[in-house]
Symmetry: C2
Subunit: 286 residues, 2 copies
């Protein structure tokens, strides 16, 4: 409706792309936005309502038809594996690449890579549903090689400089770390809160995140309907963002009954000013 | 690729719409072409390769979300029911309308309605696959009410006039049917041959059809590949159309490796001139 498509998000971390949910038509939208889909090695499916995963099997199929060989890690509700297996069996499909399925369970660390971690957390929806917290690992200080050289620090000590250590010269002179390095950039975090009703138990999980996405299916005059359907209002999303002390809030999953979306941003901004209503094809920075 | 979408066709018969196959994004395309999807009461799925049915579950979901109440008849490979059941179970979906599933089996009459019949027929593909033959029922002659009235024929005899009977007046005078009626329009037929390798056993099934759709995944210089993959070439499709003495041939299911499609029409036209390469969003008349 109103030219909006079902849910899918790309989380980028350097060269790495992580796909979160995959509604019908996601691969068509990827073509439109010239996404290099071969860079996606991790897919996270929050729950098994169609608007969040009906495009997944087609995407996996397309990877296979184009002879992908790189392993793909898929995180999703346990039943997702059964659904995919049955569809592959019906089509006599043998994927061209290893597909590693990781069933979601409790709140836990589900991915621990060199540059980031991902944790899953349960949210309150009509069926089992998970959110995902993406955290960059603490970054290293940046060495100024010219200053370090002039201070007489050998290159083999640079990795310790990056960790913040001072250098003690042979004559006992201490070179302070901050004289030859620049501070590490902030390690950023992003929480995808999936489809959920307003749930204050999420506060401790997403507290202090640089960016969160929270659904806002309705405006607050439809709060009763939101509760009944395990969804949230824009005001509720903003309230949670405020209580969680996050830096920025993104709203999405707007009911197709609404054509214009500014009202969502306005309702939320009255509670939490640093908020945007997500538009398709736009990149939001943490 | 090349802005082409996976397979789906609408067969129209008067006000009635019948959907044949339903690849990913079909419902989005329906919106684009302003299809009145509520008029679709019959859906036919030829086989369980994704490009022919990955959009089905989303369409059924959308019908339910918009509170459709009218029954829908779904004809497809037996395993389709299991796939849909599992997806509905995972989403805790209770459809708002009755969905009657009719598993495809042998070559048989699968629908017999007031104005048309539909038969299924097996084709030769890598997995079980069916084509569909749509036949209008024999139409009735059209009564000219003024002439019939002038000839002294009472209105209660008009239904027999439509069937072609002469009228015998009380004085024994015979009014010839053709004096007061016009011939019935032709009853049209359309055969959808699905995904198949070249198969002359289809000739007796589709013989004399007004219109057939036959896949042409490749050009004839790729005939070996076509055979290996249980697909056809444009020349093979044309050869079958010629041998079947049909009136018109539509080609489709072109491999995404080809950008321009005129070559398919040209290759086929050398064998069977009344041929078109299907374009999206275009209506072809039988």
């Amino acid at each position: 409706m109103h030219d909006r498509h079902p849910t899918s998000q790309l989380v980028t971390n350097g060269e790495q792309l992580l796909l979160v949910d995959c509604g019908e038509g996601t691969q068509i939208q990827m073509n439109r936005y010239k996404i290099r889909r071969s860079r996606i090695n991790h897919i996270f499916i929050s729950h098994l309502h169609g608007d969040h995963y009906f495009g997944l099997v087609g995407l996996l199929n397309s990877y296979s038809l184009t002879n992908r060989t790189e392993a793909l890690h898929l995180f999703g509700p346990p039943m997702l594996r059964d659904i995919l297996d049955m569809q592959f069996k019906a089509a006599d499909t043998k994927l061209s690449f290893p597909l590693h399925f990781h069933p979601l369970g409790e709140n836990e660390l589900i991915l621990d890579e060199k540059k980031l971690t991902v944790s899953s957390f349960k949210v309150q929806h009509r069926i089992p549903c998970w959110g995902f917290l993406f955290r960059e690992k603490v970054k290293l200080r940046k060495v100024d090689p010219v200053k370090a050289y002039q201070a007489g620090i050998p290159p083999e000590f640079f990795s310790k400089l990056k960790d913040g250590e001072d250098y003690i010269k042979k004559d006992g002179q201490r070179i302070l770390n901050e004289e030859v390095t620049k501070p590490a950039p902030d390690a950023l975090s992003y929480a995808y809160c999936a489809d959920t009703k307003y749930d204050e138990s999420l506060i401790k999980i997403i507290a202090g995140a640089n960016l969160i996405y929270h659904e806002a299916t309705y405006l607050d005059d439809q709060r009763e309907k939101a509760i009944e359907r395990f969804h949230s209002t824009a005001k509720q999303a903003a309230t949670l963002a405020l209580q969680s002390n996050v830096k920025k809030l993104l709203l999405g999953h707007f009911s197709s009954k609404y054509e214009a979306l500014d009202v969502f941003r306005e309702e939320a901004a009255a509670v939490f000013p640093n908020v945007e209503a997500c538009k398709e094809g736009v990149t939001y920075l943490a």
